[in-house]
Symmetry: C2
């Protein structure tokens, strides 16, 4: 039996996206957003939604660029902090001891210590209501070499990304593998064609 919870923003899991941008004076800022994801395969795009009240929103409108730095499990507290305070009132890099690095291909900084970085150029902006959605074309993805296995594939166990569960207990690690995509569902294809 299902129970109605009303019109709420509930979806599981959401990512923990640390959004990097420069302000008008070139100072690096980061904030954490869970409202976003991949938006297109060609061109490769992400989307991320920010409130207009945030410092990052103004930065991204001006610079038309941002980065996404993905924290590992051991960096979840830093990522949580990035969502707690405004870059107008705090130097979040100084407070956490993390290092801003200029992205190679876009006009935005990323977090050196976080294992995966996505460099994005804004190609569309959509006003949805409280949040503005930025569509960023992915110009490059950079990953810590230690998160690649011997054959150059991403080792998601070493990457150890963080998931967010809205209105539940908060942040979670990835857990047990369930099975390969585009594969475990084939048992039902056999059923329909036999």
């Amino acid at each position: 039996m299902k129970k109605s919870l009303g019109a709420k923003t509930l979806l599981y899991p959401t990512p923990v996206l640390v959004i990097g941008s420069y302000d008008a004076d070139g100072r690096p800022n980061v904030m954490t957003a869970a409202w976003g994801g991949i938006a297109c395969s060609r061109p490769p795009c992400v989307c991320v939604s920010l409130r207009a009240a945030t410092a990052s929103h103004g930065n991204i409108v001006s610079r038309k660029a941002f980065t996404i730095s993905l924290p590992s499990r051991g960096q979840a507290a830093e990522a949580d902090y990035f969502g707690l305070v405004s870059g107008r009132n705090a130097d979040k890099f100084a407070a956490t001891g993390l290092t801003p690095v200029a992205a190679e291909l876009v006009d935005a900084p990323y977090v050196a210590e976080f294992p995966l970085v996505v460099e994005c150029e804004v190609i569309q902006v959509h006003e949805l209501g409280l949040h503005t959605q930025f569509i960023g074309e992915i110009k490059d993805v950079k990953i810590d070499e230690g998160c690649l296995d011997a054959s150059g594939h991403i080792d998601v166990r070493t990457l150890d990304p963080v998931a967010f569960a809205p209105e539940a207990e908060g942040y979670f690690a990835l857990g047990a593998p369930i099975g390969p995509a585009f594969s475990i569902g084939k048992i039902f294809v056999a059923t329909t064609t036999s």
Copy 2:
């Protein structure tokens, strides 16, 4: 040391969104998408990106509505199957033995057996390239009563949602809790104000 992987759609984790829609004859269809997430808090909105070639894309353009049904770990194979074949060639509900139910508030079906359902009305459509992004205003969220704890909060362990890891090993369960959001980062606020 970071290694460049090029312009690729890499973000961890992504959700496993089973999108429900009706075709022109009112037949229910479902497909699985990992490109999407929450897009706005007020009005509450989700976004999901689909290729124009899919049957679901045409259905959603016509009906201006869709649902998202979230599978639990034990339903990952069914969700994977929903992404393997087209609704033009298969009755995916019949193949999996799952049950389509008409949403209460929007013109789309959902998967009765999946524990969490989001009913969405399309309010914006964005052409991004290979994918079209649909912005759906959330009209209601429904959850299996067994996924609520005694005080009515979502029990994410019982919900047991599925995460997808692009270009990695596939589907994963949620793992160890890391800590509460808007809380574990406060250690850095103390550092900056003391």
